[in-house]
């Protein structure tokens, strides 16, 4: 027996090493106040690990390596952390700027780009080592530097982003990472606050805060420049104060329509994708923050800014009507669909919970504890353009 003990111990440790973990159904949940990231399993509805000390995550976002092993977390304080989801550990971490807003991973998965408020610009790092590859300061006018928002990846190993203060869109081609080629589109409208890439990588659209409408860049025809769409929308309506900037991530494209939040209004805009004219507006419970299509695009889920952030509304795309209103709890901040959309996870910041819904029956499946969760990101994003 005594002799067997080392052997048993060896077997145990081998077992521990051999226990495989797939990462295709994992996700990261950000706990904003503690600066933690939770690794969760979306099939088992389980919390697997907590990765601590990631800094100020009050506006964090996450992208995934194409092998779905690593998650890159972009913190508000300029922190960039690479998490190893197989080892439940931080692989690398750097502070790359003073104040940052989001990031993207390149088409080939080899570059990580981060958009910064201060000092304004985009920095590009090696996805493997987090070493700096390129630095693009967002200089404009006389010695001015703009905050950068709406950074996404685009086909052709490009990154596209918007300059909030300058009112410009820039496109950076990284086929040669050492010498990126930058194309600038000036005068695209006042104060672009966020932007999105259509899931097929065809259109880049920036929402404008300083004037009505959106700025549209057709990536199949960049020579045509940026088009100002819906320039008259809401011009004569009284604009309500905006308590939380909407997000344009994960915008909803369904058939011929694009769904977008109407800034400063209790409405979702339905835009005709062929003419880029307003097709319809749908009255909703508050100022929309996220307007997200279920992966099959049959339904669009909407959450709201303070003080209406205890609700979620679901729009039926078939007839552009309000399908259902849910009240999951206090401080609904973010939603994420499982890869094929049979479930959705909702972050309840003020109730310290995550709630999972069946998207067909709209019944609650389960709740998990999380401290002030503000973002949910599933590893299936690894294979999506613009996320």
């Amino acid at each position: 027996m005594i002799k067997l003990l080392p052997l048993i111990a060896l077997l145990f440790s081998l077992n521990a090493i051999a226990e495989p973990r797939a990462t295709g159904d994992l996700g990261i949940v950000i706990e904003r106040e503690d600066g933690n990231a939770l690794i969760i399993n979306t099939t088992e509805h389980k919390r697997l690990a907590k990765i601590e000390k990631l800094g100020d995550l009050s506006h964090a976002s996450v992208v995934f390596s194409r092998d779905q092993r690593y998650a890159y977390v972009f913190g508000r304080d300029g922190g960039l952390t690479k998490i190893d989801m197989l080892k439940d550990a931080i692989d690398k971490r750097i502070i790359q700027a003073g104040n940052s807003i989001g990031g993207a991973i390149s088409q080939d998965g080899k570059l990580i780009a981060v958009s910064n408020y201060t000092p304004g610009g985009v920095k590009v790092f090696s996805a493997e080592t987090l070493e700096l590859v390129a630095d693009i300061p967002s200089d404009y006018g006389e010695g001015l530097r703009s905050k950068v928002v709406g950074l996404v990846d685009a086909p052709g190993q490009r990154f596209v982003f918007s300059l909030f203060d300058a009112g410009e869109i820039w496109m950076a081609d990284f086929k040669n990472p050492k010498a990126p080629v930058i194309k600038k589109f000036p005068n695209i409208g006042k104060q672009p606050y966020d932007a999105l890439m259509s899931p097929d990588g065809h259109y880049y659209i920036a929402g404008l805060f300083g004037e009505p409408g959106l700025a549209l860049l057709d990536l199949w025809n960049t020579e045509a420049g940026v088009k100002h769409i819906l320039p008259d929308y809401g011009k004569d309506d009284e604009k309500l104060p905006v308590y939380k900037m909407p997000h344009l991530e994960g915008w909803a494209v369904a058939g011929d329509y694009v769904f977008a939040p109407a800034i400063g209004q209790h409405k979702v805009l339905v835009i005709d994708k062929n003419t880029w004219e307003l097709h319809d507006t749908i009255a909703v419970a508050g100022q929309p923050v996220f307007v997200m299509a279920r992966p099959d695009a049959r339904h669009v889920w909407v959450n709201f800014a303070f003080p209406d952030n205890h609700q979620v509304q679901i729009i039926d795309v078939k007839d552009l009507s309000l399908h259902k209103t849910l009240s999951p709890g206090k401080g609904v901040l973010h939603m994420e669909f499982t890869p094929r959309g049979e479930q959705v996870w909702v972050a309840l910041r003020d109730d310290n919970q995550l709630v999972v819904y069946d998207t067909d029956t709209l019944q609650e499946i389960t709740r998990l504890p999380a401290n002030k969760p503000n973002g949910i990101f599933f590893s299936s994003r690894a294979h999506k353009i613009g996320l």
Partner: protein, 99 residues
């Protein structure tokens, strides 16, 4: 004597929000203001609201910025959600180095 202290304490607190309200306001500062100014108020879309940044600016100016917002910028008016005393209390919180 005891009664006196209680009365004085109360008078001293005139205009100051109740404990419960203070915690709501603090939560609002962290999260709702923090959405633009950063969780640690070091700035985001809105500027940093740290004591050194606010040092040269009078209370009244900051209180009215909070209550009325600033036309033409992203700073919204918070009048619908707080009164003047509460905005003044928030400015006091912002002026303290640690909060």
């Amino acid at each position: 004597m005891l009664v006196m202290t209680a009365v004085l304490a109360k008078a001293g607190l005139a205009g100051e929000p109740s404990q419960e309200r203070q915690s709501t306001l603090r939560n609002m500062l962290n999260h709702d203001c923090g959405a633009c100014h950063g969780l640690t108020l070091k700035g985001g879309l809105g500027p940093a609201l740290l004591p050194e940044v606010l040092a040269g600016k009078p209370d009244d100016f900051l209180i009215s910025t909070i209550l009325n917002g600033r036309e033409g910028t992203a700073m919204p008016p918070w009048q619908p959600f707080m009164n003047r005393d509460e905005a003044a209390w928030l400015v006091g919180v912002l002026r303290k180095p640690e909060h």
